[in-house]
Amino acid sequence: MFRKLIYSSLGGMLGLSVVAADLITTPAVANDGIKEIIERGVLRAGVRTTKKPFGYRDTSGNIVGIDPDLLQDMADRLGVKLEKVPVTGSNRMPFLQQGKIDVFSANMNDSLKRRKIVGALLPNSYAVGFNIMALKKDGFKTWEDLRGHTACTIQGSWYIKVLDQDYGIKAMTFKGGAEAFTAFEQGRCRARIGNDMEIWFRIQDNPERYKDYEMPLDSFGYSPYSVAVPLDQKDKALGRFVAGVLTEWHQTGRFLEQWKKWGFPPSPWLEEMHEKFKDPLAPAS
């Protein structure tokens, strides 16, 4: 009887200690991030609120755009609700590090430096290139047409030297985008070089003011954007799941659809990605 008691308590202690050891030494299992989301029933996702059309507030205050659509798709596939957490350019990475959000698609340029801080995933989601705003009557068709002309842009843009050396385009630079646009509209330069999305929306949003202007060239110098998860989740289930959704969006052409939906000019970068991830066995359409 006594012996039995000792044995059973010993066994109990042994069992407890095994559990304790298990608690201490178990590494974060490969799917802890995704498990937490599913248990919580909510995917907390960082989005921008001022970057039309990537993430912005519509007239009734809801956050909408390409990023929310993409993240909604991820939440749907996990079978959880999507919680859109507004982030800015400066707090999106700290939010991920502090565990305030599980993922963000927040208009972030991919870079090696950032990949050391957050789990920026491949494939890149979309890319923004550079283009010009010019008067329709000037009829610029290629970058070569701008040879010898002056173009307004922002101080410190990396392409200034390239454009000077390759096309002889003289840059006139200003502190901010507003000054550069003003100088251009006042006739101080032949074109305003800038981010193609920014130029496109400027023309779309002010049709009266910019009725004589166009964005006529093929964009160049695409810088890809990244969707990111916490760094330690990058190669675990959560990271692989998000990368999978991104791949599928390229493969099925959902990014291209979004571009069309927002009325953007076709993006050679997205078309190339679509081509790259195409299903080789899909019947030709």
Binding site: K137, D138, W158, M172, T173, F174, K175, G187, R190
Partner: protein, 248 residues
């Protein structure tokens, strides 16, 4: 010379200290051109500022109340507002109301270019200070001296030209030098409206080559040298014009 430039490439390869402005011919040419523009702006502004100062002080002492009010208003306006604001006001604001013309390539360009606006804005800004500097000099000329000159039968203009101005100029020279040094240093603000001066060129270079500390060092040395040369010249002038017995 080539070996000298190449030494800096070696320095970069060996130590990571990147004076790309010296070994990269593209950067070197851009920066040299920018240096020339800086000097150009400084010379123009110094000249026009001095003219404004002379005319201003004459108007300030005029018998006509309207002229005196005008110059008072000018000084208050340009001395009490920041230089960058004035430059932006003229370049973006006033310029929008001026007519535009075809520049020959089909571009409807503004009547006044960025370079001219910079010269105008800086000259008007520092001109306001120069008027006051000259006034301080003129007011320091003793009334007794003027009366003595008048008693010798000189006309008012002669007194002004031969007695008051030469004396006043010598008296206000140190303050004037101060003002002129500000003019030379202040040219850096032209980068705000896309003028290719030294700070602008440096900004272009350090953006691409990520060598801000090196470029800032280069800028510092360039400005110090430029101002030193100028100050040395002005000191020489000061010594040459020294009045025996004054200020001792």
């Amino acid at each position: 010379m080539e070996a000298f430039w190449e030494w800096f490439r070696w320095l970069y390869d060996e130590t990571g200290i990147n004076f790309s402005v010296l070994y990269d011919p593209y950067n070197r040419e851009k920066f040299a051109a920018a240096m020339f523009v800086t000097v150009q702006i400084a010379v123009y502004v110094l000249f026009i500022t001095t003219l404004i100062g002379l005319f201003g002080v004459w108007m300030q002492r005029s018998r006509f109340r309207l002229l005196r009010w005008f110059i008072r208003g000018y000084i208050e306006l340009f001395r009490n507002t920041p230089k960058l604001v004035q430059l932006y006001c003229l370049y973006f604001g006033v310029s929008a109301f001026l007519p535009r013309f075809d520049d020959g390539t089909g571009l409807m360009a503004p009547l006044i270019g960025a370079f001219t606006w910079v010269i105008l804005a800086f000259a008007l800004h520092y001109g306001a200070f120069t008027v006051e500097v000259f006034r301080s000099g003129i007011e320091a000329v003793p009334d007794t001296t003027i009366e003595a000159a008048r008693a010798l039968g000189m006309t008012k203009l002669q007194v002004y030209r031969l007695v008051v101005l030469p004396l006043a100029f010598r008296i206000c020279l140190p303050a004037l030098n101060n003002n002129y040094v500000f003019v030379v240093k202040g040219t850096s603000l032209a980068y705000a409206v896309g003028i290719n001066e030294m700070l602008y060129a440096a900004n272009q270079i350090y953006t691409l080559d990520a060598n801000v500390p090196e470029m800032m060092t280069v800028l510092l040395i360039c400005y110090v040298s430029l101002v030193s040369i100028f100050v040395a010249f002005m000191n020489k002038l000061e010594r040459a014009l020294k009045m025996p017995g004054y200020g001792t």
